[in-house]
Symmetry: C2
Subunit: 95 residues, 2 copies
């Protein structure tokens, strides 16, 4: 299993719009066969920091996801809302 | 419930030592009444990036955790192993 933490830094005035796009991405991603979990979080001290924590069965599941329409369209629409480039880490669980 | 993502950037030559300290912290933290989950991850592209993803019942649980001996001693011992200051985010789950 692969865990992805995708941290977005969103302009304050664009947070609500981002959440709408993010919700569509959550719903679409959860429906994919290779997805284990897909959740959205908001930083308690800084509402402009919005992070997806995702779990995928394997690399093939991630490759499939990255080619889906719901992913590519959401990522494209999110870009103008961003204050800085997102921070994406792909992890193996150690413990 | 509160989710914490604590991302550590560790000097390459110190990763094994960090993992030993981290494992003690994982075991100690999981034993706390207020803990929901506490896991360690390693970045698949950069082994020096090691991240805890933690879930806590509430703020009181986090305050208690931050005062425990296993936390304070681990954090102190980890500091000289770090290449940069850790990135800590406390999140509310939106989805």
């Amino acid at each position: 299993m692969i865990t992805i933490v995708a941290k977005f830094i969103i302009k304050k005035e664009c947070v609500d719009e981002f959440k709408k796009l993010a919700w569509e991405l959550v719903v679409g991603s959860r429906n994919e066969a290779g997805n284990v979990s897909y959740n959205l979080y908001q930083d308690r001290a800084n509402p402009g920091v919005l992070t997806f924590i995702e779990q995928w069965k394997d690399e093939a599941a991630i490759d499939f996801h990255n080619a889906t329409e719901h992913f590519t369209s959401a990522i494209a629409a999110m870009e103008p809302l961003e204050e800085a480039a997102p921070e994406i880490n792909q992890y193996d669980q150690l413990s």
